[in-house]
């Protein structure tokens, strides 16, 4: 009996001494789907997209399938000298405890991105309630504008934007996604540079996306899309890369997960593309090659296995290995061109987007010590030696292109 009592006491002491935080019922939580950071002069402007569960999930009591008249998110903005101050001011206008555990996307407005994002990183890493795996996007205007918009037909815009970033990353790899953790990691590395996708609202009446009425049309007048790759260097936004350049950087940094490459037939005009290859896996290895005493060039070896020809309008006979090889070569050249484009753009911004600095540092720490001081100068001298190998594994369900078939028939007549 004594032993049991002692056990009970021990358990009780353990339970109470450990000090867990308070419980919160689910209906007291303001589940934040997206947060936005803006600057207004010296103040931080925080924007929260809070999910209204009753409007977005299966609501109580059956009947209506939830939502309909009420938007599924509620967006509000607070201002403060620091981020946490702004966040806490949220309690003056929002009855629920803001909860960031399920935040999917973090949008940084132009003002905030240009003044510096180190404060945001600090808040994210210091607090337990925010996850470092949140995806990050920048925008050319205000983040609050992005958060206020709906993404029809999705229910929760924050989740939809995050999904948008992820889907394009997986299927086309134009703009590699980054989360808060990766940004911090890359900004403190030797290259000190990271690319962040930019979300824009297309031209037109943006207000239309802020009302539920947008669900009543089949094609909303404006929409949100991923447009460019914002380049953060040190702590601020320094410029943008367009889609092709960003795509090149994706190849160069081994971030291609799946994509398509359009190429032109052998002998045809380089600008007219008439074949498409689906890339299912791409792998790039970058090795610094010493060129002079204090100078390195980069050897880029890319292996892409594009396994399926998706579109083909050339004359070649696909049953011959030679023609397959020609296609592979054409696709490889395209990739090479993209890589060069990306690297060129990075050089123009005088930043090291592909992270060559870390490669050199790792390979030759002594040389890096000397290169470090005028790295941006050195960057412009680095040349790429690109080798791309593409492997075409399957040619789809038909062998000859319809172009060939049509020509044959017309020749017989």
């Amino acid at each position: 009996m004594r032993r049991i009592l002692l056990c009970c006491v021990a358990v009780l002491v353990c339970l109470t001494a450990a000090g867990c935080w308070n419980r919160t019922e689910l209906d007291e939580l303001g589940i934040t789907a997206a947060t936005g950071f803006d600057r207004d002069g010296d103040d931080w402007e925080m924007t929260y997209q809070v999910i209204v569960p009753s409007a977005s999930g299966a609501s109580q009591g059956g009947g209506s399938a939830g939502g309909g008249s009420q938007p599924s998110v509620y967006v509000f903005t607070t201002k403060g000298k620091t981020i946490r101050e702004a966040a806490d001011l949220g309690y003056t206008e929002n009855p629920r405890r803001l909860y960031f555990g399920h935040t999917e996307i973090l949008v940084i407005g132009k003002g905030a991105a240009e003044t510096g994002i180190e404060q945001i990183l600090d808040v994210y890493f210091r607090n337990i309630d925010a996850r470092e795996t949140v995806l990050v996007a920048v925008t050319d205007g205000k983040a609050s504008e992005i958060l206020r918009k709906m993404v029809p037909p999705e229910k929760i815009p924050g989740t939809a934007l995050a999904e948008l970033l992820r889907k394009q990353d997986n299927n086309s790899s134009y703009f590699p996604v980054v989360n808060v953790f990766e940004i911090a990691q890359k900004l403190v590395s030797d290259a000190q540079t990271v690319g962040v996708p930019e979300i824009i609202v297309t031209d037109g009446n943006g207000k239309a996306l802020e009302s539920l009425d947008v669900n009543k049309t089949t094609s909303p007048p404006v929409k949100m899309k991923v447009e460019r790759l914002g380049v953060l260097h040190l702590n601020r936004l320094v410029g943008y890369l367009n889609r092709d350049e960003s795509y090149g950087i994706a190849w160069l940094t081994n971030q291609v997960k799946g994509s398509t490459i359009s190429f032109s037939c052998s002998g045809a005009d380089a600008n007219s593309k008439n074949g498409t290859l689906r890339i299912t896996s791409g792998k790039t290895k970058v090795t610094p090659v010493r060129a002079e005493e204090q100078h390195y060039n980069m050897r880029v070896e890319t292996e892409a296995s594009g396994n399926l020809l998706m579109e083909f309008m050339c004359q070649e006979d696909l049953s011959k290995p030679d023609s397959i090889r020609a296609i592979e070569k054409a696709a490889a050249e395209e990739i090479m061109k993209k890589i060069q484009m990306g690297w060129g753009a990075s050089q123009k911004l005088r930043v090291d987007l592909p992270g060559f600095a870390d490669k050199i540092h790792r390979k030759d720490p002594k040389a890096w010590k000397k290169l470090e001081n005028n790295w941006s100068e050195e960057l412009s001298r680095i040349e790429l030696d690109i080798h791309v190998k593409v492997k075409l594994e399957r040619h789809g369900l038909i062998k000859k292109s319809f172009d060939t078939l049509l020509n044959q028939n017309s020749g017989q007549e």
Binding site: V11, L15, C20, L26, D27, G57, S59
Partner: protein, 519 residues
């Protein structure tokens, strides 16, 4: 494996400090029967009173007296006995010996009783006492009868494939059911009579050479130590002989299936059959035995292995699901996928009670419905299901009192609870569940863990007749794992569990090769 007996007869010691039970046959005097039959009849009338079912028949001019209790004998056998006795009277009665008497009675087995107590005990178990002038003592002719139920399908432990016979309240029937399954000369039955008033026959069954003699001895020792006035059901015995009283977990298995008992005996376990109840006890048992159904051995091994794991999973669900729900929704919402969180949050919106209270309310409601289902007359059965399912489930959700998720959680918990094959174990889970829910409601997952860890410590510290309760998992015992989470096919189950029968291990000899592996 070394077995250590940790049996501490504290229960019995405490009993000895108080008075021992009185009444019943213990009071009957041990005086020899040596008077005339009429004297003895006087004693019988004094001892049994003038109940209407006590009959005394005088024959051959009071030289031969037959006495029996009408409600305990079989009338047909009685009439046969009477005709036997008539025939006897025609011949010589005065100088008959006990052997001659026994030989001339066809109605039932004959046993002499030398003292009054023996005679009363015989009469109370369904024998007619024949008193003959000149013959010392009484002759007990066993002609038992009385109300009995026929062998039916067990109602509490049903199987799809397997024998449909279940034990009845009659111990002789039960023993025959058992003997029919184990036609081995080694099957031993030890008889005990417990309960001063009930004089209940308790039979300990084991297979000599398979069961450990020390366990058998221990069982008999604990049975002999019981000093009580009544044994009406196996539960009485279970509570008297179990190793530890303060535990929610049963350490003795009960079953109404003769095939389960036979299988247990073949594993080296000991069974206790009790007169007056269809439930037999099996000991020693380990924790995992409570999740087995006898059907596991009759179905194909793959499906029965799967079902076993389903049962263990259900055990965890029944114990943990409501508390996990409470912990995750109130303390750790980040553990749910976003969409799920939103849909749960949407349902929580507008429900008046906190998650813990809501869960408590629903669980208690369910326990009430369940108890009502057991207690109510069969005729009103459908009413309960309507009230339970419609009023308390759907209507409560529509009224906004509880969330739909909670109803799902409670229902799944309840269903999972029914999957556990032994009722005693599922009852234990029901109790533990409430404790864990309170812990989860106050401390979240941390609370659940701080409840489960002591529980596990308690489980591994339990013993059943000196055998660790968590065998063969803790202490880990590889060769015996063949019949725990998976049941290997019979030809591969070459040995008995060595912690139950260390001396006789071989279960399967060398079967011809073709029967094991088709080539």
């Amino acid at each position: 494996m070394r077995r250590v007996h940790r049996y501490r007869p504290h229960l019995i010691q405490r009993k000895n400090k108080t008075k021992s039970t009185t009444g019943g046959l213990n009071e009957a005097e041990n005086r020899p029967i040596n008077g005339t039959p009429i004297d003895t009849v006087g004693f019988i009338q004094e001892a049994l009173g003038s109940s209407p079912d006590i009959h005394i028949r005088k024959m051959a001019g009071e030289k031969l007296v037959v006495s029996y209790i009408d409600s305990l004998i079989d009338p047909q056998l009685l009439s046969e006995l009477m005709s036997n006795l008539e025939a006897l009277i025609q011949k010589e009665v005065e100088s008959i010996s006990k052997e001659q008497f026994a030989d001339s009675i066809r109605a039932g087995s004959v046993k002499p009783a030398s003292n009054q107590r023996e005679m009363l005990a015989g009469m109370l178990t369904g024998a007619a006492a024949v008193l003959i002038d000149g013959l010392e003592g009484a002759m007990l002719v066993s002609i038992p009868g009385g109300a009995r139920r026929s062998v039916e399908e067990p109602s509490s432990q049903t199987v799809i494939r397997g024998p449909k016979e279940g034990f009845t309240e009659e111990i002789s029937t039960n023993l025959s059911l058992l003997r029919k399954r184990l036609r081995a000369p080694e099957l031993r039955l030890e008889n005990r009579v417990i309960g001063t008033y009930t004089q209940t026959r308790v039979v300990v069954a084991y297979i000599k050479g398979i069961a450990q003699p020390s366990v058998v001895e221990e069982v008999l020792k604990r049975l002999d130590a019981i000093d009580t006035d009544s044994i009406l059901e196996s539960g009485y015995i279970e509570e008297f002989i179990q190793d530890r009283a303060f535990t929610p977990f049963p350490t003795i298995l009960n079953t109404e299936r003769p095939d389960t008992v036979a299988g247990a005996l073949l594993d080296g376990q000991v069974s206790i059959l009790i007169d007056g109840t269809p439930f037999a006890l099996i000991c020693p048992v380990t924790f995992f035995k409570f999740f087995l159904s006898s059907e596991d051995y009759y179905q194909r091994y793959d499906i029965s292995s799967f079902l076993r794991n389903i049962r263990l999973f259900s055990f965890l669900v029944a114990m943990l699901l409501p508390s996990l729900y409470i912990a995750v929704t109130t303390f750790h919402p980040e553990m749910l996928p976003t969409t799920m969180l939103i849909s749960v949050a949407a349902q929580r919106e507008g429900t008046p009670l906190p998650a813990l209270l809501e869960a408590m309310l629903m669980e208690i409601t369910f326990e009430v419905i369940r108890e009502a289902g057991v207690r109510m007359p069969r005729v009103v059965g459908p009413a309960i299901s309507i009230v339970g399912a419609l009023v308390l489930g759907q209507a409560a959700v529509q009224a906004g009192l509880v969330s739909a998720v909670m109803v799902i959680i409670v229902s799944f918990t309840a269903i999972a609870n029914f999957v556990i094959p032994t009722f005693a174990m599922s009852a234990a889970v029901r109790l533990i569940r409430f404790g864990l829910m309170i812990l989860a409601g106050t401390f979240g997952l941390y609370g659940i863990l701080s409840g489960i860890i002591p529980l596990l410590m308690h489980l591994v510290s339990l013993q059943s007749f000196g055998i660790p309760y968590f065998l063969p998992v803790a202490p880990l015992n590889g060769p015996n794992m063949k019949d725990v989470f998976i049941r290997v096919p019979w030809p591969k189950m070459k040995r008995r569990p060595d912690f139950l029968s260390p001396d006789n291990q071989v279960r399967q000899g060398k079967s011809p090769k073709g029967s094991q592996n088709e080539t």
